[in-house]
């Protein structure tokens, strides 16, 4: 018999998926069960751009920092070309210093190992009690040191690994049991590289969340009905994307005409 995941067309999970389910279950359902995607904002693009610049500098240690910074900014410009978000300018200014700081720290690790045909390493791991595998991508793997480094960009430096990141690290650790997982948090001013402690404890939480998702999915085979049984927190930054808010209006009927339609349907 197919699992609840498979009945809803979900053939895998990921760290970002379970973390979204915890933080914003309504958005998770909107994306996974009703196929409605959200656009990310300039902050997310800043992270992608910085990663691109850092990746360039780590795989090519001779590349000047300036070239890596330019590559990062070019990537950011590409991602935000059509964005009217006023935060774009501010986020662009954060990119070059963060690339420099990250490279100054992470180049000391040496050159990461490249995967075949890709720089990031795909991981897939089956966890006991979860019927579908977890899939993810490692940022930087240093097998000579036994260290996996995941790069996170921030405006202000975290003093510790957040729980969502710890869950991500726990999944990596489950896939590479001998590796030490480190999270490299970089801001335009400084950097903190933290080791994930007690990955087993966080992995227990990963499994628990996955099983919560399975129980939720088991309530009905109707993805739309399951989605409408939840309610979005539109005050959250997760819903900043106008497209996401429009989808929320459509699904949950926040617009006046939507409310009337729902009331009519209920009567």
């Amino acid at each position: 018999m197919a699992s609840a995941f498979e009945r809803h067309g979900l053939d895998h999970l990921s760290a970002s998926s379970i973390n979204l389910f915890v933080a914003q279950p309504a958005m998770w359902a909107m994306q996974k069960l009703m196929g409605r995607k959200s656009m990310v904002g300039p902050a997310a693009h800043r992270g992608t751009a910085i990663e691109a610049g850092v990746e360039m500098g780590l795989f090519d240690p001779a590349a000047p920092v300036e070239a890596c910074q330019e590559a990062a900014i070019a990537r950011f410009n590409q991602l935000t070309a059509l964005s009217a978000d006023p935060a774009v300018q501010k986020e662009r200014a954060n990119i070059a210093p963060a690339v420099a700081i990250a490279l100054a720290e992470l180049r000391q690790y040496g050159i990461p190992e490249a995967a075949e045909g890709n720089r990031q390493h795909r991981i897939e791991v089956q966890l006991p009690g979860v019927p579908v595998p977890f899939i993810g991508w490692l940022d930087f793997w240093y097998p000579a040191h036994g260290i996996i480094v995941d790069l996170k960009t921030q405006a202000r430096l975290s003093s510790k690994i957040s729980d969502p990141h710890a869950r991500q690290g726990a999944i990596y650790h489950a896939a590479h049991g001998n590796a030490e997982i480190r999270f490299a948090y970089v801001t335009p001013q400084k950097m903190g590289v933290y080791r994930l402690e007690d990955p087993r404890r966080h992995l227990d939480r990963v499994v628990s969340i996955a099983q919560s998702i399975e129980r939720f999915l088991s309530l009905s085979d109707d993805g739309a009905a399951l989605t409408r049984s939840l309610s979005p927190d539109l005050d959250s930054f997760y819903w900043n994307d106008p497209g996401a808010r429009a989808a929320a209006d459509e699904i949950w009927g926040f617009a006046p005409e939507g409310d009337a339609a729902c009331l009519n349907a209920a009567q």
């Binding site: 920092v65 210093p97 100054a104 975290s158 510790k160 933290y194 080791r195």
Partner: protein
């Protein structure tokens, strides 16, 4: 063999104070050539936090360190080459404990970590915005055991504030005190802050002896 790369300010070479991470102790010497090192028993001094600089350092036995300083905290200088490590330097001042002005630098990960924590304390302190300088004491050391053996991490506390000592050289435009965080500080986490992990050390070539004058971590 190189002589010390001139600092960005073109300052003259200063007598240093060093932290021996293997011993967990501080050492300095009197000004003058060939003066012997002595242990600093009370490591309390005015720290020139606005003058703190980061950069690349290469310590070689018997010669002054080679340094390439970053233009700013947010812009690292390019790595000058092999054997250079990331580190910091700043001036310390105490006539009583250090015999005057001393330069403190380190590339040791646990020392950098301790300085990072001190920096955060200094940034957050309301006195910083008034232009006062922190009087800092090393209140103890914490053993850190890893594959390099046991080393000792200094613990810094700000024990007072004072006016800028005249011994701290004028660096042209003095580095401004950082703008205090405008929004609410991050709520303290239930768990202790994570420790910054230094980069892993690559295995040294068998033919390269450890430089005696370099930090022992």
């Amino acid at each position: 063999m190189g002589f010390m790369t001139p600092s960005a300010t073109g300052a003259d070479f200063k007598t240093y104070v060093a932290f021996n991470a293997k011993a967990g102790r501080w050492y300095t010497k009197d000004d003058g050539k060939d003066e012997p090192l002595f242990e600093v028993t009370d490591m309390t001094a005015v720290f020139d936090m606005p003058g703190l600089q980061t950069g690349w350092f290469k310590f070689t036995s018997g010669v002054a360190p080679e340094k390439v300083m970053d233009p700013s905290f947010s812009a690292a200088a390019p790595n000058p080459g092999q054997d250079f490590k990331r580190g910091f330097q700043l001036d310390l001042y105490s006539e009583k404990n250090l015999l005057g002005l001393r330069e403190f630098s380190s590339t040791a990960g646990i020392v950098i970590e301790a300085m990072n924590q001190l920096y955060d304390l200094w940034v957050a302190a309301p006195e910083t915005a008034t232009g006062k300088y922190p009087v800092v004491r090393c209140v103890g050391v914490t053993p850190v055991t890893n594959k390099h053996g046991t080393n000792y991490q200094p613990k810094f506390e700000i024990v007072g504030w004072t006016d800028r000592p005249s011994a701290f050289e004028d660096m042209g435009q003095p580095r401004a005190a950082p703008t205090p965080v405008a929004h609410a500080p991050v709520a303290p986490a239930a768990a202790a802050p994570a420790a910054h992990m230094p980069p892993p050390v690559a295995p040294a070539p068998a033919s390269a002896p450890a430089p005696a004058g370099a930090p022992l971590f």
